[in-house]
Symmetry: C4
Subunit: 291 residues, 4 copies
């Protein structure tokens, strides 16, 4: 396994054309949210913006559109139809019709789980001819259907924490934690996906068997919402032209660095996802300037 360092990230982060316009830096679509989880897709979308994407659209169940639209002026909104409070199959159709507008898809943050949710998700993923980041509840919904994605020929990036990894494998958290490198690597190879196994020393495993370890990050990141930021960042770097491996390398490192920097003043107790978002730019600057 290789260690992610400043100089690795300096190479991995997509370079930006000074004369670029908003169309030059990609359009990220975040699909997530549910009545209990308003903040999750908001954090993913904001993180995509803060990491450099030119445009970000936030698609959510229509029932929470008013709450999100009241607090997030920087994103475009796409309310999706619901049935009994859950995203309906109409929502998949609506998304698929519009998918060509977007460069990358993040699905899962705060999405919730519902009986037909796995079917719902798989319909979307099968037709999404673009890199996709699956996070949070998206991973739980994906679990029984992961074999159906073998035919996809665009990158799939999974970002489980140890509990979600255990669920994907049908095993225990203890099992996962006892062999983080091995678990991530085997899953990535077997399913042909990128695995970002979050936690202390986040592991990135590629479908080809490459393994990266993130030396940064501590318990300032151990708070609800932190992971949503990471998925938005990965998508953002992909939207700007990075390959999935490079995007994930840059995202996990800068995300952790931002959390560490926030904790210097605010203590490791007190860092919120909103702080990390605000500090992303300075974290990026600090890495670039050390070049």
């Amino acid at each position: 396994p290789s260690l992610i360092t400043d100089s690795v990230v300096q190479q991995a982060i997509p370079s930006r054309a000074t004369h670029g316009h908003k169309g030059s830096f990609g359009h990220v679509l975040v699909v997530g949210g549910s009545p209990p989880y308003i903040g999750a897709p908001f954090f993913a979308a904001q993180a995509a913006m803060r990491s450099g994407a030119g445009l970000v659209t936030l698609a959510m169940p229509d029932v929470i559109y008013p709450q999100l639209a009241a607090q997030s002026p920087t994103t475009i909104f796409l309310p999706l139809p619901t049935e009994n409070g859950y995203l309906s199959i109409e929502a998949v159709k609506m998304l698929i019709e519009k998918l060509q507008t977007y460069d990358v898809l993040v699905v899962g943050p705060g999405l919730g789980r519902w009986p037909d949710g796995g079917h719902w998700l798989i319909q979307l993923l099968k037709q999404a001819d673009m890199p996709v980041v699956v996070d949070a509840d998206g991973l739980s919904l994906l679990k029984p259907h992961v074999h159906e994605l073998a035919e996809r020929d665009h990158p799939l990036i999974l970002t489980p924490h140890q509990g979600e990894m255990a669920r994907l494998l049908g095993t225990s958290v203890r099992e996962v934690e006892s062999d983080r490198l091995g678990v991530a690597t085997r899953y990535a190879r077997e399913h042909g996906v990128y695995v970002v196994l979050k936690g202390h020393r986040t592991v990135l495993a590629t479908p080809e068997g490459k393994i990266w370890i993130n030396p940064l990050g501590h318990d300032a990141l151990a708070k609800g919402g932190s992971g949503d930021i990471l998925s938005g960042m990965i998508a953002s770097f992909v939207a700007q032209g990075a390959a999935p491996e490079q995007a994930a390398i840059a995202a996990v490192y800068i995300h952790a660095l931002s959390g560490e920097r926030c904790a210097v003043e605010k203590s490791r107790y007190s860092v919120l996802p909103t702080d990390i978002l605000e500090a992303l730019g300075q974290a990026i600057s600090s890495v670039i300037e050390r070049a």
Copy 2:
């Protein structure tokens, strides 16, 4: 009585494992709010996050869910059913079914008072097998039923200001203020609860008769919303593993320190609860660093 000092707080504040994840730092449930009091449960929930809890769920009457969800991306939401505008007995059932998800319960901030509210609250408290912080309107609702809680074998932490203490005792504020130590100590012993009697020189009395006095704090904290922050902080430290006594010690001291620090620049007139929340992290840092 013992004085709370920097070194006492350094011992009292729960330590954090660097490699911890959000599940390691506990899940606080805040139950509160009503149409006039939107901010109170918001402040308690934010304070719990800012003090280090890994997850915070905010449960509120469904009629105010839209307003809270539009301004608080960092918490999970649990809208509760209402009847004639008040929390219904269905809400208790819903909460009880989910209680095992949470490590600590805060009930009361902004909850309002209604005819059946005492009964409502007592049903919840009887089945909450976890430490509970009762604050604000929760205290008024609790008053006629406090004897029914004798059988509870988990800690109960009450955080009255002098007016609420007087109501609990059926006496006058003057009586309370004339013997703050005695009043708090007797009530704590008699009912087997922790009493945090807020005000100038906040007093903490334990069921065993231990007494602590907070030397910090001044009128910068004398503003609606300030107390809600304190109840959220106590719950947060308990969720992170502190015993109730230690959690309350750390919370009252850091809360007051944060208010004092804010007043240096903004004057004692102008400090808002939102300022205190923002400054909690720096207050924690300053105490820890003086170690």
Copy 3:
């Protein structure tokens, strides 16, 4: 006429007891707002908090309650019943029943004008046995009824800008501007009210004929919302125990000082009411420290 200076304000601003609690610093009621004017009562209420009031309740037409409650966690809310979109006479009854809860009333910011509005307002003012600040649309509604208030024996503080002053007098803005001192003084004496005639060199005239001139302030304050802050500040100082004259002296000076201070960095073009609110505390500190 006397000039307001640092040392005058140091005497005029209400002193604060270090051991005071939120009940010690008064409860301000702001009545205002309408669908086009959401921010006006919000600014008045926030200003009252930022100037030291212990509690602030914001009463508004029920149709805009959701919007205000979604952005203002620091105030208590009192939605008022409406009829055809305007505050109904039921709203007066509801307010009058609750008036004993409050120490000072601000009425007018963003209230709008409607056919029966003058009658509505006068019913409220006649029964409000407390100091009242009438601002903005409240002044226009008051105009035809001002003689009906002769019997009130609690202070009435009017805060017109030159346009509102002209409307109160049935004259032109030019007339007002050509004799600001004379106009304010005569109106104050004749109607037994305090007049704060806003504008360049704000004038304060008391019922007894005392005149004060504010030397501070410039075009950084020339923006919608600025005046709403002033009315909230005056009410806040009264709620903390200042006499109306002293409250108005302190408010106009600190308000202007805050605007001037904001403009140093942000330029006079760019200062928003939200900036002035944030800077009130530092402006208070700077005046007090110069003592």
Copy 4:
């Protein structure tokens, strides 16, 4: 073509009377927004405030009024009637009745496009006897009707990016980019309008054939929402008395300078429209002080 410089902007930016009141600095009306695009008119309106306008009214489809009113206390709101989700012809009538209240109109940010939208817009523009800035979707709606505006005798300022310019001309982006100066100049002359062709080296062309080039700005501005800020700034300077050419000169330069300044700390990846808004005042100060 002339280069915009500090000293040009120092002359172009409208001077402010120290004793001015909110009525002295003009009233901007922003018409925009649609369910997917909440932020666009918000940014334009905030930019108008941050650039010095005394009052700003934000008119939007009534269906998004709640979301905007919940996050923007600094503007006045004018909800407009909709039909099948789009602005109805009633909305034009309502606007026209009120137009005399405003000094400048911005139309287009986030407005969306609908079958009858071009007709809708043209009815408004024909009767708007005031300078008008048309931006974003407004430009697309305008395209088939631009010849109908020949009779207008008040300035029309168009602010297309390269894609919108191509649409206006019925040509390709490549064509536009290959001759930015020529394209802007010809369109401005031919239609008697001001053209602000945004992008790397923004071009301003006047109806008389004067051409200005903005040397500032880079990819920190390449994010959704950035352009909305520019249209609000131009309108704001016009409302304060600047001629359209001078307003556009000052706006494009200060807008770009603000973006550049934000990027110094936050990196070019991470600058959001909200950052640019916050920094406008400091950018104005820095230009003025260099005089």
